[in-house]
């Protein structure tokens, strides 16, 4: 009865007809586990599905430190955080990048990360997570979720664009705003937090006004921006929820000006962190990755690779960003622990308001 044996062998030697031979991923597990102060060997970076850095930088890191960087992606930032929490006793890797301030509370509460703080260049401290008393998370990048307007559309209509959250409930802007949902998209949740930061306990009343004024809520950022936004895909609404960097991508053909603008009084700041995972097999490698994320090379690559701003001071920005993506002075903020405590209640109430 050799059938099952043959089948088993077949299963184990997954053989594709189309092979490009890029199969050097399986790292040798025998290296790098022979004591406390090893260098070299694989280090596993758990991250979300928008992670991207130039291959050249990764190669350089490997050459400089002797570690092999293995990436493991686990869905979006929310899904990744949930999985880190669920696997806290047997971590998915050595180091995790991409937990942001809206999910950090959950990760800290569950003890996902181990303390580590390397050398922080100037500027990083400003983005440290309030309430991270053990010092487990290192800020890597930041970006603001802001309401954007199609300035070209408003010029054409001879209408003054809105400026504040309050303006969005003004009848002059009836049926003009589209946002993505707080339960289904990360910027949508950030916008909900912005309104909570601005209106405190009265945020449900604000949302009622907003919805009464014809605000449209769609599931994803891409639905709002590429379908309903006038400047994104030829939609019908000139006010959209997006990022403070978005105007850098709507420049005119000659690159002399941009046709959209972010409303800097409506912004909620998102900061992404990296941290060594508790119980990591390769803690020294993990620490090296944390330090690497703050190097000038990685920081400078962030805008083009992941559409976010660096946290280190004095990093040179791409031209379009420097010119067309001004940052808010004082973005709205909600404490990470408070978010963790109230997330369920807020989302439930918000969902009721929207599906009413």
């Amino acid at each position: 009865m050799t059938v099952s044996g043959v089948l088993g062998a077949l299963l184990l030697t997954s053989c594709s007809l189309i092979g490009t031979g890029d199969d050097d991923s399986a790292a040798d597990p025998s290296t790098g586990t022979s004591g406390g102060t090893v260098t070299g060997g694989p280090v596993v970076l758990v991250t979300h599905d928008s992670f991207s850095l130039p291959k050249k930088l990764v190669k350089q890191f490997e050459a400089d430190t002797g570690y092999e960087l293995e990436l493991r992606s686990n869905g979006d930032a929310g899904s990744m955080t949930s999985q880190l929490v669920l696997n806290v006793d047997n971590p998915l890797g050595d180091v995790a990048f991409g937990v942001d301030n809206t999910f950090a509370g959950r990760a800290l509460e569950a003890g996902v990360f181990a303390p580590y703080r390397g050398e922080w260049p100037a500027g990083v401290e400003d983005f440290a997570l309030p309430g991270d008393d053990e010092g487990v998370l290192t800020p890597v990048d930041n970006g603001d979720v802001c309401v954007n307007v199609d300035t070209a559309w408003f010029d054409e209509q001879g209408l003054e664009p809105p400026q504040t959250l309050e303006d969005l409930t003004d009848p002059a802007y009836e049926d003009l705003f589209v946002t993505s949902g707080a339960t289904t998209s990360s910027p949508g949740f950030a916008f909900l937090l912005a309104t909570i930061a601005a209106y405190g306990e009265d945020w449900p009343a604000y949302w009622e006004d907003l919805l009464d004024n014809g605000a449209k809520v769609v599931p994803g950022w891409e639905d709002a921006y590429f379908v309903d936004f006038t400047a994104g895909g030829g939609g019908a609404r000139p006010i959209v929820l997006s990022y403070d960097s978005s105007p850098a991508f709507t420049t005119t053909d000659d690159g002399s000006e941009t046709t959209t603008a972010a409303l800097l009084e409506t912004c909620f700041e998102q900061v992404e962190y990296v941290g060594v995972l508790a119980g990591a097999e390769n803690p020294t490698g993990a620490q090296a990755v944390v330090d690497w994320m703050l190097t000038p090379e990685v920081q400078a690559a962030l805008p083009d690779s992941m559409y976010v701003f660096p946290v280190v001071d004095g990093v040179e920005m791409p031209e379009a960003w420097a010119e067309f993506a001004p940052r808010p002075e004082e973005p709205l903020a909600v404490d990470a622990a408070e978010i963790d405590e109230n997330r369920d209640a807020w989302l439930t109430e918000w969902q009721d308001l929207v599906s009413r």
Binding site: M1, L7, L11, S14, S16, L17, I18, T20, D22, D23, S25, A26, D49, S50, F51, S52, E70, L71, R72, S73, N74, G75, D76, G78, S79, S82, Q83, V85, L86, N87, T183, T184, V218, P219, G220, W221, E222, D223, F226, V227, D228, G232, G233, G234, G235, A236, S242, Y243, D253, A301, D304, S305, Y307, P318, A320, D344, L347, Q351, V354, S355
Partner: protein, 557 residues
């Protein structure tokens, strides 16, 4: 090796050996992760907590979600069957120029990433879209249209594969004796076709009931299905108890549905005379199915055309810029952007490699299962075991990808099963999703083979392998191709489980497309559409090639 005509212990041992590989795979890659995930929700602080689970089920929102899932899936399934049957007939029984191309094209929606199709659909239906006046945006009707769009191919191919080789002579005889076409269909064709129709319908229902992207994108936030709710509860809120409660309800409902389907599928005598397919020229009476097929094609083509147009019109003027950019990494030229770790072209190669692996895995496991399920049972227990196995392998279709994906990570994390990093995980997960399609396509055909033919072959001295090759293979060849096509398409388009498991530096095309469309960037939207068009084109091409494969010289044996 035992022969099929053998008896007693050796025969049973042979059958058990056939079952062992598929069952082990299902146990490790489905039962284990799902129970692992569900038990996390049922146990609070080390004690079983059923009260909490019952509380979740009592919530009005839970009931609303369940009800919506059931009715929207039922309506979508009904429409898909009603539209799919005439199309299956026209594309498999009739001979007309271009029918192969049409057959291949009808399968295209199956692989398209729901996010992108959702956006394309909404650009048609949205406030400013050409069909905006219909007011469909964000309605349940839009969701149902989306579900039908994605699933009509299952009916066309599943039923078509069984219909193609039905012997036309009994029907012709009935017609010669004065039966009207309707009578022929009711009394001759339908009884032979029913198992295949029920099979396809149950698969479609399961696909609809676990649809994620379609419901979310097209329904907006007003509608929630069990699947979107499980995602929300698991990922956003980490409310494992509620998620587990819903997962269990989902499992129970799926089981009930499968029992019902098994009952509806059962016919007194499954034996069907089959011949090599001989499609004939359309007659006047075939106008109705042909027109309906054209309608289905138009319906399927609409969002695809919207995609093609969208991909060709960056900046409101026609250009191939988005396609040229596919070999790059996204974002604006000149800004040095690298939205992606790998060029789209490389992701396509990864997708194709994964799909090849997933296809052979699904065909191998599905083929073994189908063989096992269609051998004539010698006892009642044997029959029971068969029908339990049959149902068991349908379950992966009915379970949330989130539950499965998370379950993988929390259960397959220790030696000897530390598979979290295994490159086999993605094709295997995809093969599990495709497996029910393979089984459901093969079983109706294989069970139609008269067992006496195999016995005759055996008594003439043919070994089991030779009997298989001479008796079963010729009959099952076309359906096997159809099933392979399905598996390939499922794998190419799979996003749910893959997005949890794919390595960021080696993503599949749907993952890349999702990433492209999820961020600003002057060309990203168009590139996502262009990549979807490439995915669709590749699929259609592969389907066409697969259709051309013939069973190698059966007569020579």
């Amino acid at each position: 090796m035992t022969s099929y005509g053998g008896s007693g212990a050796p025969r049973l041992a042979g059958l058990a050996a056939l079952a062992v590989v598929p069952t082990a795979v299902l146990g490790v890659f489905f039962v284990l992760p799902v129970t692992g995930m569900v038990s996390r929700g049922f146990v609070t602080d080390g004690a079983l907590d059923l009260g909490g689970v019952l509380e979740v089920l009592g919530r009005p929102r839970t009931r609303r979600v369940l009800w919506f899932t059931v009715w929207s899936s039922a309506v979508a399934t009904t429409i898909a069957v009603l539209l799919g049957l005439p199309a299956a007939y026209a594309t498999h029984r009739l001979r007309w120029p271009g029918r192969r191309v049409v057959r291949a094209c009808l399968l295209v929606p199956f692989v398209l990433p729901t996010v992108v199709v959702g956006v394309a659909f909404r650009q048609l239906l949205g406030e400013a879209g050409p069909l905006g006046f219909l007011g469909l945006d964000g309605t349940a009707r839009a969701i149902i249209a989306g579900l039908v769009f994605f699933n009509v191919a299952v009916v066309v191919r599943g039923v078509g594969a069984a219909w193609e080789s039905l012997d036309a002579r009994p029907g012709e005889a009935a017609a010669a004796l004065g039966a009207s076409p309707a009578q022929v269909f009711r009394t001759v064709t339908w009884p032979q076709l029913r198992p295949a129709v029920v099979s396809s319908a149950s698969v479609v229902f399961l696909f609809c009931a676990t649809a994620f992207g379609v419901v979310l994108t097209l329904g907006g936030l007003r509608y929630a299905s069990v699947e979107t709710e499980i995602y929300l509860l698991t990922v956003q809120r980490l409310d494992l108890q509620a998620a587990a409660a819903l997962s269990v309800v989902q499992l129970l409902a799926v089981t009930a549905l499968l029992l019902l389907a098994a009952r509806l599928r059962a016919v007194p005598d499954a034996t069907v005379t089959r011949r090599a397919p001989t499609p004939r020229r359309p007659r006047r009476a075939d106008t109705v199915p042909l027109v309906l097929t054209a309608l289905v094609l138009a319906f399927v083509a609409m969002p695809v055309l919207a995609l093609v147009t969208g991909s060709l019109r960056p900046d409101d003027s026609w250009s191939l810029e988005a396609y040229r950019a596919l070999s790059g990494r996204g974002s604006a030229p000149g800004q040095g952007g690298t939205a992606l770790l790998v060029p789209v072209t490389e992701a396509l190669v990864t997708s194709l490699r994964t799909a090849v692996d997933a296809t052979w895995m699904a065909l191998l496991l599905g083929g073994l299962l189908a063989l096992l399920l269609t051998r004539r049972s010698r006892s009642r227990t044997e029959r029971r075991v068969r029908s339990v196995l049959d149902g068991l392998f349908m379950l992966p279709l009915g379970v949330s990808a989130v539950t499965l994906g998370f379950g993988f990570l929390i259960t397959l994390d220790e030696p000897p099963l530390d598979l979290r990093d295994s490159p086999l995980l993605i094709p295997l997960a995809q093969a599990l999703v495709a497996l029910p399609l393979v089984v459901r396509t093969l079983v109706p055909v294989l069970s139609g083979v008269d067992d006496r033919l195999r016995q005759a072959a055996a008594s003439l001295g043919a070994g089991p392998v030779r009997a298989l090759v001479t008796v079963d293979l010729p009959v099952v060849w076309k359906p096997l191709l159809a099933a392979g096509g399905f598996a390939f398409a499922v794998s190419l388009g799979e996003f749910g489980a893959t997005s949890f498991l794919a390595r960021p530096d080696d993503p599949t095309l749907p993952v890349v497309i999702f990433r492209l469309i999820g961020r600003p960037g002057p060309l990203n939207d168009e590139m996502a559409m262009a990549a979807s068009v490439v995915l669709a084109g590749t699929t259609a091409l592969v389907m066409l090639l697969v259709e051309r494969l013939r069973v190698p010289s059966v007569g020579a044996l």
